[in-house]
Symmetry: C2
DNA sequence: TTATTAATTTAGGTTTGTCTAAATTTATTT
DNA sequence: AAATAAATTTAGACAAACCTAAATTAATAA
């Protein structure tokens, strides 16, 4: 059980997330994700390769090894448990937890995390609806679906927003959509894929395809 | 409200603690405290001086400025609140909390700490009996006294141990003394300043001056 | 008060993680 | 397939935080 620096951990975590989309991660993608220069990515990839955490051939992109994935899941576990703690116990709002958890996740005491997990009652999802890996690194399938792909007239609950920009938050606020909001898609317009949305006790309104793609929901009662 | 590196914070905190004893702190003292080489201390003192956190003239030792003290109290507040959390909520034993809090204390979100404080019910002392600065940096006088200096036949409660070495812990265990133990000093032997100690429902026993000096108590009922 | 010892600082080096600019490799066009 | 563009890597620098070894200053003992 070696220990990794904050930087190494941030790289590992970012690769893990980018891998979900495409199978293999490119230097430029990772540079964009981490707001660093491509040259820095190459440097770190050499190091992570020497530690056997990524498969990497120059110019060919990279992906986590089994061991790298194990490490990534540990970091994600810490991050999401802290998010749950901040939201559930300290009453942070859902849009504040991420930034603080980014720092807390690098405190790597195994005992701390396992005791925190126990204290929180072994939660299985963080406040954004993302699954929390257990202490063996096992993680449930994410049951979230983008609002753009759910069937009509099915009740859904907003549990995740795939963009934290202030312009996005402004729009969400204006449309009165929050984490936990219960809504239904009433109609899908073929022309621009915009959606007509109904929230209980409110008049229906429409949202763009771009917005719908960034709002994730779970099916609810 | 600038931010400081983990290293800077560790230096500031160590200077604060050493200052309590002697008014001014020397390069060697700080090197011993931080397990670093004297040359490293000099490097950092130049930096902290340029940030106006310490008063420092070459070869003359150093002490925190008013601003440096303010920063130190913030770090100590974070450390002690986390210790309280670990002990009270996560049920860590008193000898485990320090190491973990050493990491957590460097997460510097003000909102996190103030919310944690609120969540914990604004505790005024950490599990070792040390006072926790409030969010203005106000700190109560430490009411702890070394066991070697309390009067005879006065009930006292162990609340702090000034040494975390395993040899110390071994001895404490053997003597059956823990945080929270209620005891009285029955006799002080002039020859070697050893003490005869009485714990309720146990036979009296003696402890050395060296040990007594490292055990801190509060007067209790 | 001078010599010796102890404490401290300086000079210069290392590692980690970043960067810019130039070189190289791969991908895309025409 | 050659030319151009894009992506990536290399080369070389830099700041932070540490180190060792040598030089300097202060403290102490003769």
């Amino acid at each position: 059980m070696l220990n990794f620096s904050t930087s190494e951990e941030n790289y590992i975590k970012a690769i893990f997330h980018l891998q979900q989309e495409a199978g293999t991660v490119t230097t430029n993608d990772l540079a964009a994700e981490l707001k660093a220069r491509p040259a820095s990515i190459t440097d770190m990839m050499k190091k992570l390769k020497s530690k056997k955490l990524v498969h990497y051939q120059p110019y060919r992109g990279f992906r986590l090894t089994t061991e790298g994935t194990r490490i990534a899941l540990g970091i994600i576990r810490r991050h999401r448990l802290w998010e749950y703690f901040l939201s559930e116990k300290l009453k942070f709002s859902w849009d504040e937890v991420h930034a603080v958890a980014e720092d807390l996740e690098h405190v790597s005491s195994k005992k701390l995390i396992d005791k925190l997990d126990e204290y929180l009652g072994y939660p299985r999802f963080d406040p954004h609806g993302d699954p929390i890996p257990d202490n063996q690194g096992k993680i449930e399938k994410n049951q979230q679906v983008s609002l753009s792909e759910i069937p009509l007239n099915k009740t859904a609950i907003v549990c995740h927003v795939g963009d934290q920009s202030s312009s996005m938050l402004e729009l969400m606020k204006h449309k009165n959509i929050r984490i936990g909001t219960r809504l239904e898609v009433k109609k899908r317009f073929d022309f621009d894929q915009s959606l007509e949305i109904k929230i209980r006790q409110q008049l229906p309104f429409t949202i763009s395809e771009q917005l719908a793609k960034k709002i994730f929901v779970k099916y609810g009662p």
